[in-house]
């Protein structure tokens, strides 16, 4: 258990981290979490974003033109 906790990357020999190492580890975890969320947002939101920007550009197309095939 203690060895698994100590393998969290940059732990000191006695199993605790210094303040600098803890903030570095937290920054890494937060940025990984943010990148994962950003990827999900981009995956689901990019095409709706393009459609939104396109439907609001001039001259405004009608909604029925978006859904029909003519």
């Amino acid at each position: 258990m203690a060895s698994a906790a100590a393998e969290k990357g940059k732990a000191l020999v006695d199993g605790s981290e210094s303040a600098a190492e803890r903030t570095a580890r937290q920054a890494r975890e937060w940025s990984t979490w943010a990148m994962k969320k950003a990827k999900v947002v981009a995956h689901y939101g990019f095409i709706p974003l393009v459609i939104l920007i396109g439907m609001n550009s001039e001259p405004k197309p009608r909604l029925v033109q978006l859904l029909s095939l003519i």
Binding site: K39, I47, I53, G54, M55, S57, E58, Q65, L69
Partner: protein
């Protein structure tokens, strides 16, 4: 494309009309504004090259663009149907259906093909300052390209492929700066990929460039050099990189309608040498591109405009070495 890092740059753009670098207007003195039409007839002896007024070079990844237009035509197998609908001048939707086969690498020289049908939905927004292109395929993969002009000289390009499976998504951010006679680019990608490149016009026809990249996770890095010499009649490029790749290409514009291209590629890591010869006929109603390879591959692609808005595509690729024959036909509707 022209980059030694060989990160795929997303779906290749639709074939544009040939864009050879037009000869830049000779600058007799820096104060006179360039008049390309009037000065095109002046004899070459009167031209004085003004090294302070060289044209801006082509972007680094497009250094071999004329060769790729002829030699890397998108041959396909099976049936293809593309429908493009423009809702207004800058916004359009595309629907593509393709029924073809996908190859699985197999032991020996046999080729195993698995039938594969796809449907792709695309949304394009094209503005002078902002271009957004998104493609969604039926297995949930999203391919996104963004090009945004932040200022007159600085552009941001984003290219991303996102999948539902974790770990298979890729993204790349490019910052391009265009100077008076140079271009520079800085790239950041996933897997801790960093790259930078720079290309400069040295004379009216010659431009030289260099690039460097570093991949964090695999601890790989590389440096590359590129040279491009283009005139009204031909374009010659050479590229060499520390990844062990040497690529040379030569494209000759025989006439307005015909151009011939040749390409030589040597990869030291995989001991792969390939030479390709190709032709490109740009006629009024059709465009025919074909190539012949030292790997024993002969291929051709015909795009014919049957009526305004209707395009017929015929594609063939015959690999004599592996006895692999791929034929495809398709129809494109819309602009």
């Amino acid at each position: 494309m022209g980059s030694a890092a060989s990160h795929s740059a997303g779906p290749p753009p639709p074939p544009p009309p040939p864009a050879y670098a037009a000869p830049p207007p000779p600058a007799f003195d820096a104060a006179a504004p360039p008049k390309p039409q009037e000065e095109a007839g002046k004899p070459a002896a009167e031209e004085k090259v003004d090294y302070m007024n060289l044209p801006c070079p082509v972007p680094y990844e497009e250094v071999q663009r004329e060769a790729f237009m002829s030699l890397k035509a998108e041959v396909f197998e099976g049936m293809r149907l593309d429908y493009t609908k423009m809702l207004n001048q800058s916004f359009g939707l595309t629907h593509s259906v393709s029924m073809g086969a996908v190859e699985i690498p197999a032991q020996g020289s046999d080729v195993i093909k698995i039938p594969h049908g796809t449907y792709d939905f695309g949304a394009n927004f094209l503005d002078p300052k902002l271009v957004l292109i998104g493609r969604l395929s039926q297995d949930g993969r999203v391919n996104a390209r963004v090009k945004c002009d932040l200022t007159e000289n600085l552009a941001l390009k984003i290219n991303a492929q996102m999948t539902s499976e974790p770990g298979y998504s890729q993204g790349m951010f490019n910052f391009d700066y265009k100077g008076k006679d140079y271009r520079s680019q800085f790239q950041v990608g996933n897997n801790e990929f960093f790259g930078a490149n720079y290309i400069q016009s040295v004379t009216k026809h010659l431009s030289l460039g260099t690039e460097a990249f570093w991949v964090g996770q695999q601890r790989k890095s590389g440096v590359g050099l590129v040279a491009r010499y283009d005139t009204k009649n031909f374009v010659a490029t050479g590229q060499i990189a520390t990844t062990g790749m040497v690529a040379l290409s030569y494209v000759q514009k025989v006439s307005d309608k015909v151009s011939l291209a040749s390409d030589f590629m040597y990869n030291q890591m995989s001991r792969d040498v390939t030479a390709t010869f190709g032709y490109d006929y740009m006629l009024r109603q059709c465009r025919l591109r074909g190539k012949l390879d030292t790997n024993g591959v002969v291929s051709a692609l015909l795009e014919e405009r049957l009526a305004p808005g209707v395009t017929l595509l015929l594609s063939a690729e015959v690999d004599h070495w592996k006895k692999d024959y791929k034929f495809g036909y398709g129809v494109g509707i819309g602009e």
